[in-house]
């Protein structure tokens, strides 16, 4: 939330006021190795409130990371700061509220021993159980453990519920995936090589404790960070060195994915993306019945969709939050207000809100039912709903028409089509929703210039304010000169002065176009494509084909007098691999009475006075 005046339905306010600190003297830091069932040693950093009475018992917040639980700093920074803790909640806030904070390096990473074949492996998840056993055996533990994280740690926080350990009381997954195939690696079946390559590269260098890599990719971190923080008892660094040697056999997603396309492709050790997805384990998570607080942003990769899918598909007591910030809420990302510089609430206030949630789950009556809070761009208001899609949801069709217009009238002419030769230089740059997963800002700038490389259709000015909330569906009837290709669709707002603002987008590789009638593995609100090899089919060049897919979820108010615009491209060169690998297709979009290409836009009908 970046408009501090948006009070009504604001989840951070509804989670309760921030109470007095229980502990005001700061915190102490310990480190330990936790030996799990197969002998792997998990490195842990433990923060406890300073001044905790010897007989006091407190709950624990656990964060499990693959990006170093703590960093050894360079001198002179090491002399004034104990360590840096990326992705972990502020230890001062957590401990002052009467919680212990423990963050661990997952097996095969940081200072932990072992090796890893896939992210979020079964062994990594099971380590959570052993870590809980260790925590509740500590003299300061009251036997309650909750989990929290953002991004990778957000996913470990959610997977933690699968352990079905009675000590686990709540989970807060922030900015994590639900379906790694569509949410991050292959959105719409298009390989997001940009992020996956960089993520694997960074992961490998972190696992080998090689800070040199930061000089190129994160220079600010390189200036301060010397390497992973060792465990204090490992004085001669023997265990750390052994751990790094074991990490040499780690496997990384990129090198096993480059030549893959399908959801059912085996990418690592016989695993597919589904094997380490959250959705494949939704029944275990449901069985835990643990309260979930899941939060993210409309603009963060496909993780905004993940919030909706989790909300629709898990029966657990549930609070879901969708805002307008970047990955991890580091930066504002509302494209309608590019000059905003900070995210509200501040990180410290957010952590306090999360602790309020834990307090309710451990000490209070818990969370009843399900509620989703979502922020509507331009209207700059928080809204909430107990169901998704929200009340008043209705689809409105907008047809592609002549002179590159969008209109609500279906074309009557039997002819009408537009051709577009794919421009493989088209790009959204490296500050888009996909690169954002590396902590980069999200800025879709100069849309007018970008749109020159696209084929675009624009409506007349809207006659009234119109709220769009949900996933826009794009249906194209097209033919191509080639048997493969991808479609990138950008949905935009055009104001009275012609200023174009990005709202959301969608991407789709045309070989996956088959729409299945069987039930998908989880409930969705868009056409179901399996992305499996058996359902893929090349286009027949020259033959008109239906390509129908959903764009990423959003909530936005299109103001009266503004126009809506859809830009279509065949490439996004700095993020997605190109399809086809060679050649330059020309696509022809039909817009006639037989083949009427259209957008289905999820409109929220305004509630009338007295209507519930």
């Amino acid at each position: 939330m970046t408009d501090p005046n948006a009070i009504k339905n604001n989840p951070f306010i509804e989670l309760g006021e921030i109470p007095e600190k229980k502990y005001k003297e700061g915190y102490i830091i310990e480190t330990a190795y936790i030996t799990v069932r197969d002998g792997v040693k998990i490195a842990a950093t433990i923060c406890l409130p300073k001044g905790l009475p010897p007989n006091a018992k407190i709950p624990t917040v656990l964060t499990q990371t693959r990006y170093w639980r703590a960093m050894e700093l360079r001198i002179p920074f090491r002399w004034i700061l104990d360590s840096m803790v990326p992705n972990a909640p502020n230890p001062e806030v957590v401990t002052s509220r009467g919680y212990a904070l423990i963050y661990t390096d997952v097996r095969g990473t940081g200072a932990s021993t072992g090796s890893r074949t896939t992210p979020f492996s079964e062994e990594e998840v099971k380590d959570g159980y052993d870590i809980v056993e260790w925590i509740i055996a500590q003299p300061w533990s009251d036997g309650n453990v909750v989990s929290k994280g953002i991004s990778y740690t957000g996913i470990t926080a959610e997977m933690f519920a699968r352990n079905l350990h009675p000590a686990i009381k709540a989970v807060i997954p922030g900015h994590g995936f639900w379906d790694p195939y569509t949410d991050v690696a292959f959105p719409g079946g298009c390989f997001d090589y940009g992020f996956i390559q960089m993520w694997s590269f960074i992961g490998k260098n972190l696992d080998l404790n090689n800070p040199k890599v930061f000089r190129q990719v994160m220079p600010d971190a390189w200036l301060v960070v010397k390497g992973v923080k060792s465990v204090k008892s490992d004085k001669d660094l023997e265990l750390l060195n052994e751990a790094i040697t074991q990490h040499k056999s780690n496997q990384y997603v990129y090198e096993h994915t480059l030549d893959k396309s399908y959801r059912d492709d085996q990418i690592l050790d016989g695993s597919s993306f589904d094997d380490f997805s959250v959705f494949a384990h939704k029944q275990e998570i449901a069985r835990s019945n643990l309260p979930i607080l899941a939060w993210c942003s409309w603009l963060d990769s496909g993780y905004g969709d993940a919030i909706i899918h989790r909300f629709m598909n898990t029966p657990n007591p549930h609070i879901a939050i969708l805002g307008d910030w970047s990955h991890g809420a580091i930066l504002p990302a509302n494209q309608f207000f590019p000059n905003r510089t900070t995210v509200t609430p501040a990180p410290r206030d957010k952590v306090n809100a999360w602790i309020n949630f834990y307090d309710k789950c451990i000490y209070g009556e818990g969370i009843q039912g399900k509620v989703i809070y979502y922020y509507t761009l331009v209207e700059e208001k928080w809204k909430k709903s107990n169901v998704w899609p929200p009340f008043g949801h209705n689809y409105q069709k907008w047809y592609f028409s002549d002179n590159f217009t969008l209109t609500q009238e279906k074309p009557e002419s039997t002819v009408g089509e537009d051709s577009y030769k794919v421009n493989f230089r088209a790009t959204t740059g490296r500050n888009n929703r996909w690169w954002a997963l590396l902590g980069l800002p999200i800025t879709y700038e100069n849309r007018a210039k970008v749109d020159e490389k696209l084929i675009c259709y624009t409506s007349q000015p809207l006659e009234s304010d119109t709220e769009i909330t949900g996933q826009i569906i794009l249906c194209l009837y097209l033919k191509s000169t080639h048997d493969d290709g991808s479609i990138f669709a950008y949905f935009e707002d055009v104001d009275e002065n012609g200023k174009i603002t990005y709202i959301t987008d969608g991407e789709f590789r045309v070989i996956h176009r088959k729409i299945l009638t069987e039930n998908p593995p989880y409930k969705i609100l868009i056409p179901y494509h399996s992305y499996k090899k058996e359902d893929a089919a090349p286009l027949v060049p020259g033959e008109i084909t239906e390509i129908k897919f959903g764009l990423h979820s959003t909530s936005v108010l299109i103001k009266k007098g503004h126009r809506i615009k859809i830009g279509i491209a065949g490439a996004d060169k700095d993020t997605f691999i190109r399809y086809p690998a060679e050649g330059r297709p020309t696509i022809t979009i039909s817009r006639n009475s037989t083949y009427a290409s259209y957008l289905e836009i999820p409109i929220i009908k305004k509630q009338q006075e007295g209507e519930k």
Partner: protein, 119 residues
């Protein structure tokens, strides 16, 4: 991180005493905060001078680390070398924070000038 930077500058100046002894050609850094274990490895001193101080060449110096008293004593062979490093230490903490501030703002012009660091 950005909001921490102004206070980091003050914290560094507060936490570290720098004493120059021109007669004996020594510079002594004393870390006043309590540090558990080793305060620095000798090679880290050279990295610090290159990274934050702008040192571009190897300066011969004897580096003694006194962990018990939390002191780092640099002894030089000639006055010229002593003077060069003493000059660097006059503004090294300001430089370090300014460099960090620039990097956070995605200005990497000064980082490019840092020589290769053997971590």
């Amino acid at each position: 991180m950005e909001e921490l930077l102004p206070s980091l500058k003050g914290m560094l100046k507060e936490a570290i005493d720098i004493d120059n002894d021109a007669l004996n050609l020594t510079i002594t850094l004393t870390v006043k905060n309590k540090i558990n274990g080793v305060i620095a490895e000798p090679e880290e001193v050279g990295i610090m001078l290159k990274m934050y101080g702008g040192l571009t060449e190897e300066i011969p110096m004897e580096i003694n680390i006194d962990n018990e008293n939390q002191k780092i004593i640099l002894k030089f062979k000639n006055e010229e070398d002593f003077m060069e490093i003493a000059e660097i230490f006059k503004k090294i903490w300001d430089n370090a924070i300014d460099l960090l501030y620039q990097a956070i703002k995605s200005d990497f012009s000064r980082i490019k000038n840092i020589p290769d660091i053997d971590d």
